[in-house]
Symmetry: C2
Subunit: 247 residues, 2 copies
DNA sequence: CGCCTTATTGATCTACCTCAAAGTCTGTGG
DNA sequence: CCACAGACTTTGAGGTAGATCAATAAGGCG
């Protein structure tokens, strides 16, 4: 898949060249012709390695970069003035982190690596300049942003569903769809985040997440082993996700 | 304020000219020089009147237009496959409706007028073409989109807060901030939506909204008369919005 | 004025939170 | 390779915030 070489070795040109990246068709380079790709490559720091727990950017700090997940996974979380944390979203390979801070210039949340992974880092200002030169980059931006907004809507809808197991079911359906969107087609998912992160994201208690998993297993929607989840019946999982309120 | 003439009269040129619009500095024209403004004016249907309950666009229908609220207010809502409705967001003067559907071309929710009002309608495709000609329009798009995404994050965070009165308090704080953002500075707000819409938006029961209002009145944060709410103590309302979970 | 929709208030019930404890996984060092 | 410590996860028992049901009150409109 990805050639992550020992750091003592000279980095392979191939790895840092966006032209060769498996994600390029879904990434910003898709908005630039091959001839001009070098212009983009010039403003990206490609393949930065992160260890689990590493911070990409901090809430309330100056936001300077957009990140593209290449391998691994990340989360963003907001801390309220009174110290309560809430996990906003999770990010999978091919997804962009930091979109919401582009205008204000201040990060509205903290981004943290959930596991060891690799991401590319793009400077906002330089990207803005490039966008003015290449109109197709602008199209790509609108496409990415409107998709992010549509996803945010779905996540928001899910957070207001009454039944806890429906929320978890919807979460799994969305997560599975996002995995599949970037070519990792399968009904088996590895959840890289801990139960507490899922609980925070869905606005439920950790214990309720556990019990909801048990319910989804009992009803034959899924089976699981720790963080490894297998969707047995996607149809049934959809039904469970759309239960009438308080059933 | 706005001159909404009797429909039997010839529409005043002034009204439909974006150059004269009080919102233009926050609207798409801000991304175009005065010399080129006519190009934009050519793709907008300005000042369309809506009556309370009128539908701007329907979920799952082909999405062709972006709307700018000029007066009045609107809501967007999603209907799940099993017929449960959820109010996604409310839209105030100066705000854009339909951003999330720009890429897919399919509306992911239904937009409805909450009261009599006026909005302008812009064709996506023509706007896309214009954006390629005017790079500053692209900057405006990114600015608008990232702000919308940041707001969606805040709304999502709010929906996962435990305490019902905290959710309502946060809702009022956000709503007030948005009203003020477009120059309607005041601590008195008129909520154009019914309690049921607020309840749906916050993921609570209508009765809980009523009781939460009562609590906010008892604690001296607000006073109210029907849908007319007056913020008495913004500091206290912030505190109420950030209560520790379950108390 | 009377009808109908919307809003509030009261009483009961329940899903989920909290607290508590046991069980499982992960990694580290002997 | 195994033993242990620590974090993570699950399961159990009881309490509570908010849902639901029910009834009254207040607007809105013909």
């Amino acid at each position: 898949m990805y050639l992550i070489k020992d750091s003592r070795m000279a980095p392979k040109k191939m790895i840092s060249d966006c032209a060769e990246c498996v994600l390029s068709k879904d990434c910003i380079p898709s908005g630039i012709s091959t001839d001009n790709l070098h212009r983009f490559v010039g403003i990206v720091s490609t393949n930065i390695s992160y260890k689990a727990g590493d911070v990409l950017f901090e809430q309330n700090a100056k936001a300077q970069h957009l990140f593209v997940v290449k391998t691994g996974s990340f989360k963003t979380q907001t801390t309220t003035p009174h110290g309560i944390e809430h996990v906003n979203n999770f990010f999978l390979p091919g997804e962009l982190i930091g979109l919401e801070s582009a205008s204000s210039g201040i990060s509205c949340n903290t981004a943290i690596a959930l596991e060891d992974g690799v991401a590319c880092k793009i400077n906002y200002q330089q990207l803005t300049k490039l966008r003015q030169e290449f109109p197709s980059l602008s199209d790509f931006a609108v496409k990415i942003y409107s998709a992010a907004l549509a996803l945010a809507n779905e996540i928001q809808n899910n957070a207001t569903i009454q039944c806890a197991s429906s929320r978890l079911a919807t979460f799994l359906v969305l997560y599975n769809r996002r995995l599949n969107a970037h070519g990792m087609q399968s009904l088996g998912l590895h959840l890289p985040m801990c139960r507490e992160d899922i609980a925070s994201h869905l606005g439920l208690a950790v214990e309720t997440i556990s019990r909801s998993f048990s319910k989804l297993i009992t009803t034959g929607c899924i089976k699981k082993d720790g963080r490894r989840v297998q969707i047995l019946n996607l149809e049934k999982l959809h039904d469970e996700a759309n239960l009438p309120p308080r059933k």
